[in-house]
């Protein structure tokens, strides 16, 4: 699979998902629950990502920011 297709594939998938039925505001109470929020605590996520960056050759696509330490 070419690199361009690999990059674009998630976006095609996203556009398909965009066509899905939307949840009305009154149906979102459960989604506001801390256990349903992705990256509920970005600072905490960054702390976890920080030490993985030192130990592995792969980085990125985690949604967390880390770096500034020459670890990459």
């Amino acid at each position: 699979m070419s690199i361009r297709i690999r990059i674009l594939l998630p976006f095609f998938g996203a556009l398909l998902l965009y066509g899905c039925a939307t949840v009305k505001p009154w149906g979102k109470e459960g989604l506001a629950d801390p256990i349903m929020i992705i990256d509920e605590n970005p600072i905490n996520a960054g702390i976890k990502e920080h030490f993985i960056d030192y130990r592995e050759g792969a980085v990125g696509a985690t949604g967390a920011e880390s770096g500034g330490c020459g670890c990459g």
Binding site: I3, R6, I7, L9, P10, F11, G13, A14, L17, Y18, C20, A21, T22, V23, K24, P25, G27, K28, G30, L31, D33, P34, I35, M36, I38, N41, I43, N44, I47, K48, H50, F51, I52, Y54, R55, E56, G57, A58, V59, G60, A61, T62, G63, E65, G67, G68, C69, G70, G72
Partner: protein, 416 residues
């Protein structure tokens, strides 16, 4: 070399153009009446630590303060300190080094960024406790602004230590669609790093530019899907000059400086699902594929389960597995010096496993007997991670293939 730099610039310019076109196509055709909420007032203090079987210990306390200055603007300041024992290697090279092609003495060449010849992690009865002799300071200042149905964030980050500085600018824009059921976040990160190892008499640059595109979609009242992509261009000095390459020439062991290509294009794409299993629990499943111009490829899977033990207690249990291939120039043993060579174990093939435990205690009725927790705006966070990594060849310095590490975090979060 000049041709290589021109190609590099052309590649980055191409990505910038595509990124900008994508940005205007998506955001130029949408508008929404929903004003988005910027982060609210919050103070968070974390005390984290890392300890591994290679005798590296790191303590990194941090404090973060977010202040909402108007309904549409908030600012954030953050300070983090890394206290490190021997930023890399401390306990004595097990090879029979007799000479070195570097300007460093044996101790400096194989020990830490600190350049210190003592200290380090506890190594027995003589030094039972770790001595932290390398310090990194990281400062972060940023703001978030609500703009016409989206949120713009800008952050500046500066990190400094005795042999490394990094200045970073991070910009993100998140646009919400479809009655806030979908969001697209586009981000750019630009870093200017300077490397000046204590064992060398030079200073070199490393430049990094990263583009992120993340899409989040609410599928139903129980399911959220997220797609994340990253493209990174690294150029300049990309090797760790404390990771020397041992080569035996005519019976004599020598240590050579690592030589990495000065350009690395890194890409990653990930898909993540968050699903509410039943009223009191959720599960998040993720998969990431990573590939780069050094031929490192990686597959990462993760699973995280969260459940309420009571109204105030959330338990999280996670698992993560990563499998990667080696860089095209990585070799367990080099017979002679080569154009590119490395002993950096991150570039070897291997796999890792991580088990994550988390306990969140939310203040309020039921836990008011604990300090500060009579206030429901207060939250305690406890994290404990167990990590193991097995590489296909042993680490040059201690001849071990297996790394075991423990990572903890104790945090207190106050939202008001």
């Amino acid at each position: 070399m000049q041709l290589g730099q021109q190609e590099q610039k052309a590649a980055v310019a191409g990505v910038v153009k595509k990124f900008a076109l994508f940005f205007f196509l998506i955001f130029g055709s949408y508008s929404t009446d929903f004003a988005q909420l910027v982060p609210g007032n919050e103070t968070q203090v974390n005390f984290s630590g890392y300890f591994d079987s290679f005798n590296v210990s790191v303590l990194y306390p941090s404090i973060s303060i977010t202040k909402k200055v108007s309904w549409s603007t908030s600012i954030t300041g953050r300070y983090l300190v890394d206290l490190i024992t021997a930023a890399s290697i401390r306990n004595g090279y097990t090879g029979s080094t007799t000479t070195s092609n570097t300007s460093a003495s044996k101790v400096d060449a194989v020990t830490a960024a600190s350049g210190s010849s003592s200290g380090g992690s506890g190594d027995g009865l003589e030094n039972p406790l770790p001595e932290f002799d390398e310090v990194r300071h990281e400062f972060n200042l940023g703001f978030a602004q609500s703009i016409a149905g989206g949120i713009l964030t800008l952050d500046g980050l500066y990190s400094t230590e005795s042999d490394y500085t990094s200045a970073t600018i991070i910009g993100n824009y998140t646009q919400y669609f479809a009655e806030n059921n979908a969001s697209l976040q586009l981000g750019i990160v630009r870093s200017w790093d300077k490397v000046f190892p204590k064992t060398k008499d030079w200073k070199k640059n490393k430049n990094v530019i990263t583009f992120n595109a993340n899409f989040t979609q609410i599928i139903s009242t129980k399911l959220i899907v997220q797609l994340l992509t990253t493209y990174t261009n690294n150029n300049g000095l990309l090797s760790d000059n404390y990771q020397l390459v041992p080569i035996t020439i005519e019976g004599t062991d020598s240590l050579f400086d690592p030589v990495h290509p000065d350009l690395r294009i890194r890409r990653a794409a990930a898909l993540s699902f968050k699903y509410r299993l039943f009223d009191k629990a959720s599960v998040q499943l993720g998969y990431r594929y990573y590939w780069d111009s050094w031929n490192v490829k990686s597959n990462t899977i993760s699973a995280n389960y969260q459940m309420y033990l009571s109204k105030n207690l959330i338990l999280g249990i996670g698992y993560r597995n990563n499998v990667q291939t080696q860089a095209f120039f990585f070799k367990p043993v080099y017979e002679t010096p080569e154009q590119y060579m490395t002993s950096d174990i991150k570039l070897d093939s291997g796999h890792s496993n991580e088990v994550q435990l988390q306990l969140i205690i939310q203040g309020g009725k039921g836990v008011e007997f604990l300090p500060f927790l009579e206030d429901e705006r207060v939250q305690y966070i406890f994290d404990l991670n167990f990590y193991s990594r097995l590489t296909d060849s042993p680490y040059w310095f201690n001849n071990k293939s297996n790394l075991f590490a423990t990572n903890f975090n104790i945090g207190i979060r106050y939202r008001y």
